[in-house]
């Protein structure tokens, strides 16, 4: 797997690079700002770009903008955005336009090498990756008339994993059940929440997140 790493803090960038190299990932380029990141992606055509959300010059959302540029200009290149913020709206902003091959992870999580590699692999497979902390945040939100109360504990678990971007097969693997069982759970959840959606669609992550964030469901 060929990867470009962009982060303006050298300490973090080199930590990530070391982890990737230890896991046998080919880091083809490093970048300290959005501009050089875009140049490296254009030149090296990596499988995935790992992008820090906050980069020079304004240290606001340059990484997010760059991620969207990469997805527009090079649809075959996946993007994993790293952030220190638990911001569902950032994740959704990414998913809204390009629901595939995209991920949003909290930075502190990637130092667990296994998590980083797993996320890269899933993005490479065309899946979506949403940080569990963000999913927990939107799932755990206080609601006045809570429609989630109708879900069983297992259904809630499945809903959370769907929101994290896992495929049915991956969920099955995670929960040690068959894929068919997961399919049934997903169907049931969507039925109970009146989500009018083909549960197989790639857009289901966004639909679930949007549903959970929608104040009308609160």
């Amino acid at each position: 797997m060929r990867v470009v790493v962009a982060d303006d803090v050298m300490l973090t960038r080199e930590g990530i690079v070391r982890l990737l190299e230890d896991a046998g990932v080919d880091v083809v380029a490093q970048a300290a700002d959005a501009e050089s990141l875009l140049r490296e992606v254009r030149l090296k055509r990596p499988d995935t770009a790992i992008v820090d959300i906050r980069m020079p010059p304004t240290h606001s959302d340059e990484g997010l903008v760059a991620a969207q540029r990469i997805r527009t200009d090079h649809p075959e290149v996946g993007v994993l955005v790293l952030s220190q913020y638990v911001e569902p709206s950032y994740a959704m902003r990414l998913l809204e336009e390009y629901p595939e091959r995209i991920g949003y992870l909290l930075k502190q999580r990637v130092f667990d090498g296994a998590v980083l590699i797993d996320a890269l692999r899933r993005i490479d497979d065309g899946e979506t990756v949403v940080d569990p902390t963000i999913v927990a945040r939107v799932l755990g939100r206080r609601r006045r008339a809570d429609p989630l109360a109708e879900l069983t504990a297992r259904e809630r678990e499945v809903l959370g994993l769907v929101a994290e971007g896992l495929s049915n097969r991956a969920i099955a693997g995670r929960l040690f059940v068959t894929e068919r069982t997961v399919e049934a759970h997903v169907k049931q959840v969507f039925l109970k929440l009146a989500l009018d959606l083909n549960p197989e669609s790639h857009r289901r992550v966004l639909a679930v997140l949007a549903y959970l964030r929608d104040e009308r469901s609160s």
């Binding site: 240290h59 911001e87 206080r142 006045r144 609160s218």
Partner: protein, 585 residues
């Protein structure tokens, strides 16, 4: 020594006026004696009456004006002109004492310069350089001409002599051609000066502001007529060198001249009366303002009373060494410009205000009586308080802004500093843990694993702290997304209703955000399980509303009030609702 009730200068003026009456009448008697034809007054009763009326009107106007406008010399000029006016009467005194005849002939020459000076100096003295030059030139020419005529003109050899043809007690040497030359120069110089005077009168009438035109038009019209008559006189003399008072042309010119002088004198009186009326109307309008006039009403009242809509008052604030308007907003120091004059107003020896007004409002300082001065001082105090209020509000805004800037900086410092170091630390701990495990040191690996967990917890806490100090999403994505995040992390169900899609100035968004954040915290403290939040633009204001189902509020929400107040907004607090209006344009 007992003090005189009148100043010595005024005594002189009064005496000059009083003595002028018998003097004028005496001149009339002399001129009318035995049907003399050497003066215009001797032509008919009508002309005599007109000529005397003109002279006495000048004298009366002089006395009145010099008492009404102590500062100017207009009154003195009118008095002098009145005295000079009667000189030709005496010059034509057949058989009069030679000294009187000689002096009267010379004095007659200063009548026109004095009248010209009088017109161009009204109402407030010689303002422009060109006019000063004109006046000086006219006086110098009159003096030189008088000197030349005194020394070299023998009336006996003057072919065009008509009034005093016998006596010149000052004669040194008779030079008829020089004397004639002087008379020619006099003639054309007077015509030129009169043309200049006419131009000044027309120009001033055209340029005057309405209040000035109202008081000045009789004087300026009189001045213009006088100039026209002077020019006509010069032209007539050029055609007919012998000035014959019985000639219809010369007589008509004289009669019109008398009318012009009467108009001028009445104009002077009119200006005095007008100023009195104006002063009274200023006092009356100020009295109508009442005890608590709204800021700025004095300015508009004064503008109305004086008839100058452009009138402006700038109040002096000694504390800040600057000027403010009646509402306490900083104002430029008024500067005199073309057509605009600036009058300082002083009360108790201290400068209170500067008034910018149309030029030519004579002695505005005096027009403004004690009642207005008191109102002015009151309004100045009010303006000072308003200015302080304005300063306080600005300072409060600055304090809140500084606080917000500091919060943003702190959040960024945490993000770029402590959080990055903790990330690096947790990475190192993981690497070390992996290494220990590889070496089979499971005890150390376990300890390092625990340390990694602690670092992760510290990171999460630090993240929450940084978010609480200043949410980065607010700066980057605006109020809507920031409120959504706030609602997701809230300890109670928060429904975010409508939120503005557009962005607002940072201080407005920050204020609205913290109003909601604090109100949600407050609702949670009061045991609320639900809160509804809405933020919408209403005209020039961002209106933030919050309603919850908790118990009645006890807190005064001081921080929220400060934030909203710092931006000039309004906060309404009810037991379970809160509404903040923040100006956003």
């Amino acid at each position: 020594m007992a003090r005189l009730p009148v100043a010595p200068a005024d005594l002189v003026r009064l005496t000059a006026g009083a003595v002028a009456l018998p003097y004028g009448l005496a001149a009339l008697v002399v001129a009318r004696d035995r049907g003399e034809l050497t003066t215009y007054a001797g032509q008919s009763d009508f002309v005599a009456a007109l000529a005397v009326t003109a002279g006495l009107a000048l004298l009366a106007a002089g006395v009145v004006t010099s008492f009404a406008h102590r500062a100017g010399r207009i009154g003195d000029l009118a008095l002098l002109a009145g005295w000079a006016w009667f000189a030709p009467f005496l010059a034509g005194w057949k058989g009069g004492p030679p000294l009187v005849l000689s002096l009267a002939g010379l004095a007659a020459g200063v009548t026109f310069p004095l009248l010209l000076h009088l017109v161009v100096a009204s109402p407030g003295g010689l303002r422009s350089k060109g006019v000063r030059v004109l006046v000086v030139a006219v006086y110098v020419e009159a003096a030189l001409s008088a000197l030349g005529r005194a020394l070299f003109r023998d009336p006996f050899f003057d072919a065009s002599c008509w009034d005093n043809c016998t006596a010149n007690v000052f004669l040194v040497r008779s030079l008829p051609r020089v004397a004639h030359g002087i008379q020619d120069v006099d003639l054309w110089f007077a015509a030129a000066a009169a043309a200049a005077l006419a131009t000044v009168c027309v120009w001033r009438l055209a340029r005057a502001s309405p209040p000035v035109r109202r008081t000045m038009w009789p004087i300026l019209t009189g001045g213009f007529a006088l100039a026209a008559v002077t020019i006509a006189h010069s032209v007539a003399l050029d055609r007919m060198p012998l000035e014959d008072p019985s000639d219809p042309t010369f007589l008509s010119i004289f009669v019109i001249g008398c009318a012009a002088v009467i108009a001028l004198a009445l104009g002077l009186l009119w200006a005095v009366v007008g100023a009195r009326v104006q002063r009274r109307s200023v006092a009356r309008i100020v009295a109508q303002l009442g005890d608590a006039p709204t800021p700025g009403s004095l300015e508009s009242a004064l503008a109305k009373a004086i008839g100058d809509p452009e009138l402006r008052i700038a109040y002096w604030l000694p504390a800040s060494h600057g000027y403010v308007d009646a509402r306490g907003r900083p104002a430029e120091e008024p500067i005199a410009a073309s057509g605009r004059a600036v009058t300082p107003l002083v009360r108790g020896g201290r400068r209170v205000a500067l008034v910018a007004h149309a030029t030519g409002i004579a002695e505005l300082e005096r027009e403004i009586g004690p009642a207005v001065r008191l109102a002015l001082e009151n309004e100045r105090l009010q303006a000072e308080i308003l200015a302080q209020l304005h300063d306080l509000r600005e300072s409060r805004t600055r304090i809140v802004e500084t606080g917000d800037t500091e919060r943003r900086r702190l959040e960024r410092d945490l993000h770029d500093g402590a959080q990055q170091r903790l990330l690096a630390l947790s990475y190192d701990l993981r690497v070390a843990g992996a290494a220990s495990e590889g070496e089979g040191d499971f005890e150390t690996a376990s300890l390092l694993g625990q340390a990694t967990g602690d670092a992760q917890i510290a990171l999460a806490e630090l993240r929450e702290l940084a978010h609480g100090i200043h949410p980065a999403i607010l700066t980057e994505a605006g109020l809507g997304p920031a409120l959504a995040t706030l609602a997701e992390a809230a300890p109670l169900a928060v429904e975010i209703g409508e939120t503005p899609g557009e962005r607002y100035p940072a201080q407005v968004e920050t204020a609205a955000y913290f109003v909601v954040a604090e109100a949600i915290d407050d609702a949670a403290r009061r045991g609320a399980s639900y809160a509804a939040v809405g933020a919408l633009r209403h005209e020039q204001r961002l209106v933030v509303k919050l309603e919850d189902d908790g118990s009645a509020r006890t807190s005064a929400m001081i921080h929220v009030a400060d934030r909203v107040g710092a931006l000039g907004g309004r906060l309404e607090i009810e037991p379970t609702t809160l509404r903040a209006e923040i100006p956003c344009a």
